[in-house]
């Protein structure tokens, strides 16, 4: 069981490094470390994350968006070891800038060949990247309803009338 876990851990570590470097920079310092190698099954796991050549002393020094990307890289790493049949993201893109939202949606798009993804979002860049869109609304007070949103239907705006237009 120890050996099995360590083997899985090594694979998760590889995936983590790949995803982290996709989000940040090719040669960034990042790692997952089993602090107690002699008892892997209950050893604490340390995350090393130094995005874009910076040198934060700990995870708490990372910015809001950097934290989200680091945690997401770890979750994707677990997913890549054992792909769940579906994944749901609830507004995980909220702290991300547009370029990072695009990287996030591109990665999801690749994984979606093997699993279904459901992404709840307020972000326009994300909305433009999905394959189909459901709108949730309350016509009657306090009662939720759902309706598929047609992409070609430009009258879709029951919530979005940006003052930029």
């Amino acid at each position: 069981a120890n050996a099995m876990f360590v083997d899985a851990f090594e694979q998760i570590k590889e995936h983590f490094k790949n995803v982290f470097r996709t989000f940040f920079t090719e040669d960034d310092a990042c790692d997952l470390i089993l602090l107690n190698e002699d008892s892997p099954l209950d050893s604490p796991i340390e995350i090393l994350a130094k995005p874009k050549g910076k040198r934060p002393k700990s995870l708490s020094q990372l910015s809001g968006g950097e934290k989200t990307l680091t945690a997401t890289a770890l979750l994707f790493a677990l997913y890549l070891l054992k792909p769940a049949p579906f994944c749901i993201f609830d507004e995980v893109d909220a702290p991300l800038d547009d370029l990072n939202v695009q990287k996030f949606t591109k990665l999801i798009s690749q994984f979606s060949k093997n699993s279904q993804f459901v992404i709840i979002t307020h972000n326009k860049v994300t909305m433009a990247a999905v394959d189909m869109l459901y709108g949730v609304f309350m016509q009657e007070v306090g009662i939720s309803e759902i309706s598929a949103v047609d992409f070609s239907d430009k009258s879709y705006d029951f919530n979005y009338q940006p003052i930029l237009n």
Partner: protein, 165 residues
């Protein structure tokens, strides 16, 4: 194990029967604040067997039942049904679909069904062992998790690794 559809009735703000069909790829869910998007995520956690009311943002499990508005009285029960294609044969191969259902009545009585046959919560949970889905799944992600993974609250990191490894 492709997701086919989710049916919600009497669960939180979904007072009326609501059906969401899932296609291949990435599905986006959008809508105003408070319209019910996260409630959809809660319904999926709940039908998969979530027992901790805190994970569903409730003070007690009975609070999942639609609690009424000025114009509509509260529901007698909450019911959620999740249907998959039996592509990984988690059920014997004569079944093309797997349909799991959970009902909670105001009386406190609970009912679980697998393809319309009464079963125990245990049976539903066993279906998903080793699929990556269950409590502590890395497949349902919201922003609070970013924090618990990075600060390793209550061994959150450990539990996720165990789900995948």
């Amino acid at each position: 194990m492709r997701l086919k559809s989710l049916e919600i009735k009497g669960f939180k703000s979904f007072a009326n029967q609501t059906i969401i069909k899932f296609d291949e790829g990435v599905t986006g869910v959008v809508g105003p604040n408070g319209s019910g998007k996260s409630n959809i995520v809660d319904s999926i956690r709940w039908v998969l067997g979530e027992q901790k009311s805190k994970e569903l943002r409730l003070e007690s499990m009975g609070d999942v039942i639609f609690n009424g508005t000025k114009k509509k009285k509260k529901s007698g029960a909450a019911q959620v049904t999740l249907t998959f294609e039996n592509t990984k044969n988690i059920l014997p191969t004569e079944y093309k679909e797997v349909s799991i259902s959970r009902t909670l009545y105001r009386s406190g009585e609970s009912e679980y069904q697998l393809n319309n046959v009464k079963c125990r919560l245990k049976d539903i949970r066993n279906l998903f062992l080793d699929s990556g889905i269950g409590s502590n799944t890395y497949a349902i992600i919201e922003l609070g998790m970013v924090d618990s993974i990075l600060s390793d609250k209550e061994n959150a990191r450990r539990k996720m690794f165990e789900q995948a490894a």
